[in-house]
Amino acid sequence: MQTPKDELVLVIEDDPGIAHVLETILNLNNINVIVANNGVLGLQYIKEKKPQIILCDIMLPDMLGYDILKIVKDDNEKYKIPFIFLTAFADPSDVRRGMNEGADDYITKPFTSETIIKAIQSRLEIQRNIESRRISDLAV
């Protein structure tokens, strides 16, 4: 499945190793990626680059992934952006917390590229469907 190049994925991850391999994997799958290595930069990119999907670590040097999620979901314009946690917190209670906070998906490290790609594509698919329905609604 191909993804149009105009859809942008924001990766908020402070570990340069993870950020780099994610960027490579997504690029190899024709997905545009922008990486923020801390929370503040991540929020700035959300505002400026308008990503279609956000992949976010929980433990960031300046804030928690939960805080970024809350800011996104509290924003009337951006609350629809699919938000996926990508974290080393693998305890079921951590997963539940992430989902309760309103995340659309929760991926634990280590992960396979397939898990990442499928998670992103299925979220983008849903977004596209909603968008096209909205456009067709408008057409009527």
């Binding site: 570990d15 340069p16 190793g17 993870i18 391999v21 490290k109 280590p110 590229s113």
Partner: protein, 635 residues
């Protein structure tokens, strides 16, 4: 003297008189006589009458009429004087005296005198009866009774004292020495009794003693022997009553009770537990020796004391607590148990396990009985145990925390390794890919992340070794400049965020004895921490200075700093400062640093201010190898 005068004298004296001649014809009689014989004639009319006839006439008046009649005929035949008491039929008694009165012509007269002795006889009979009564009592009393004179000679013995009548009678007027000689037995007994006798006399009061008497069958009889001196009004000794009561049963019972008592006392005083009984008025009724130790008493005999304040060295507070418990037990008529802290005036403390209960008995009335045990040792052991358990729990919590952290810390490098491997796989399966994506970039990443995992595992391994005391100290001569530069360039030419460490080494060329492996952990941990806890801040500074005596290694950062409250615990295993926030870490680095420096006989200085930065400096003595060759490896 005129006959009539004699008659009068006899009448006044209350005697009946009859004189007869040898032919038994009455020559003279008086008024009293005819009254006695109830003869209805005047005395002078009796003269010339036959005496035997008169006897026949009066014999019915006598209790034994035939004997009277016979005696009247018989007695004068013998011409011997008689004096006898005759019982009359009416119960009265007469004394009859006969005498032959010889005349000048060779003949003789029979003279009979009668006197009413009823009162005298009855009195003497009464006395006789009383004597018999008392003798019977004395003989029947189940005690041997003897009466002695002032010389300890027997005046009387009862049947119990000496059963054999012959011996009993023999003993009268004799003493125990004579008895012993008579019976051919040791005079020890006589000596002993004499001493008791003298004791009573000397003290003017009864003396008593338990006498052990061996019975013929070999068993022992216990006799309570009492010598009771009796004094008259002039305080002169009249006699001494000695009596002995067989108290074998009572004595054996008493001995049994005494032995029981002794056994009980030994038992109760042998206890290390204190036992006491206290009246509801607070008076101490009973206690054992252990009590004295437990309450640290200086008083020898506590009985009867009302107040623990005077008999113990307890503080007033402890005594008040104790009395509150007594009152509660007495008021509820129930029991109380638990553990009390006894505080003493010397500031020492004993922990006392107590059990108090209400009791009531006819002798002591309502009271509280208590059992107290000194459980200070157990309590201290329990405290130790609790603190060990607490420490163990804490350690366990820290370990689970560490496992969580470690698994979290391992997931990130594993993710990089996994993704890198997948990328390499993609590159290899799609040869027409972007030339910029080179497989070697990812094999390098895999290697770097494997090193990262290895470092975490090594830290873990070292902690395990330190905790189990298995870490080896292997010092060797090290060129400081080369050693430091190698570590820094290999690991921190650039940190992952792009910063580079600023380092200065100043040395004098001498080699220093170091365990290279342990010191590598020290330097890496200090630098890693300095970078990790100072994000977006100037790079840390490493300064190494070799002086004449010491090697100083100092790492300074401009990071978040360490709160004061955390400084003390910072070098403990798994402990992390409260302000680390989202910065990941296992909490073992500084523990390893501390251990390694201690192993080198060195010391650590910590200087930090929250928000400004931290400087950690370690000092290692140079030429430390001799005295630290096998240093204790426990942290």
């Amino acid at each position: 003297m005129e006959i009539s005068s004699i008659n009068k004298i006899f009448d006044i004296s209350g005697m009946g008189l009859l004189v007869e001649d040898a032919n038994r014809k009455i020559k003279f009689t008086n008024q009293k006589f005819v009254e006695f014989m109830q003869i209805d004639s005047k005395p002078e009319d009796m003269v010339g009458l036959d005496c035997a006839l008169t006897a026949k006439y009066a014999k019915h008046l006598f209790a034994d009429p035939d004997k009277f009649e016979f005696d009247i005929i018989d007695i004068p035949k013998k011409c011997l004087p008689t004096d006898e008491i005759i019982q009359m039929a009416n119960g009265s008694y007469f004394k009859r005296m006969y005498s032959a009165f010889f005349l000048e012509n060779g003949s003789y007269d029979n003279v009979w005198v009668y006197q009413d002795v009823t009162i005298t006889v009855e009195k003497s009979l009464e006395i006789e009866r009383q004597k018999e009564f008392y003798l019977n009592i004395l003989n029947e009393i189940p005690a041997d009774i003897a009466i002695f004179n002032d010389k300890h000679k027997y005046l009387y013995l009862n049947r119990i004292a000496v059963e054999n009548e012959e011996t009993r009678n023999w003993l009268i007027g004799k003493d125990d020495f004579e008895y012993c000689e008579h019976k051919n037995i040791d005079s020890k007994l006589a000596n002993l009794r004499r001493s008791w006798f003298n004791e009573a006399l000397n003290n003017h009061k009864p003396f008593q003693k338990v006498d052990e008497v061996k019975k013929p069958n070999g068993t022992i009889k216990y006799v309570l022997r009492i010598f009771h001196p009796i004094y008259n009004k002039q305080n002169e000794l009249t006699y001494v009553v000695g009596y002995g009561i067989d108290i074998t049963d009572q004595y054996e019972t008493a001995i049994f009770i005494e032995n029981q008592n002794l056994r009980f006392k030994k038992l109760i005083n042998g206890l290390t537990d204190g036992v006491f009984q206290i009246g509801v008025d607070g008076k101490l009724i009973f206690y054992n020796h252990a009590i004295l130790n437990i309450i640290k008493s200086d008083v020898n005999n506590l009985l009867g004391y009302f107040d623990f304040k005077t008999i113990s060295n307890l503080t007033n507070k402890s005594i008040d607590n104790l009395y509150r418990l007594f009152k509660k037990v007495a008021a509820n008529q129930a029991s109380e148990n638990g553990i009390l802290a006894f505080e003493f005036k010397d500031k020492s403390i004993k922990y006392i396990d107590y059990y108090f209960w209400f009791s009531s008995n006819p002798v002591d009335g309502d009271c509280v009985i208590g059992r107290i045990s000194d459980v200070t040792l157990q309590k201290l052991r329990e405290n130790d145990l609790n603190s060990i358990i607490h420490k163990e729990k804490e350690l366990n919590n820290l370990k689970s925390h560490f496992i969580n952290i470690t698994s979290h810390e391992l997931r990130t490098p594993l993710a990089v390794i996994m993704s890198s491997a997948e990328i390499i796989d993609m590159i290899l399966s799609k040869p027409n890919l972007d030339q910029k994506i080179k497989p070697e970039n990812y094999t390098n990443k895999i290697l770097a992340e494997v090193n990262r995992i290895t470092d975490i595992l090594n830290d873990l391994l070292i902690v395990g070794q330190i905790e189990s005391g298995k870490i080896k100290f292997k010092p060797e001569p090290v060129n400081i400049k080369e050693y430091i530069e190698k570590i820094v360039t290999e690991n921190y030419s650039t940190y992952k965020d792009g910063r580079s460490i600023d380092y200065r080494v100043q040395e004098d060329g001498r080699k220093v004895q170091l365990d290279k492996n342990l010191m590598r952990h020290v330097i890496l941990n200090l630098i890693e921490n300095a970078f990790k806890y100072s994000p977006n801040k100037p790079a840390p500074i490493l300064e190494v200075l070799q002086t004449a005596n010491e090697l100083k290694i100092s790492v300074k950062d401009y990071g978040i700093g360490i709160p004061k409250k955390d400084m003390e615990n910072l070098f403990q295993t798994f402990y992390r400062a409260s302000n680390v926030g989202n910065i990941s870490g296992t909490g073992v680095g500084l523990m390893i640093v501390k251990h390694a420096i201690q192993t080198h006989n060195g010391r650590i200085e910590l200087d930090s201010k929250v928000g400004e930065g931290t400087t950690i400096t370690t000092y290692i003595p140079i030429n430390n190898v001799n005295d630290t060759k096998h240093a204790d490896t426990k942290g």
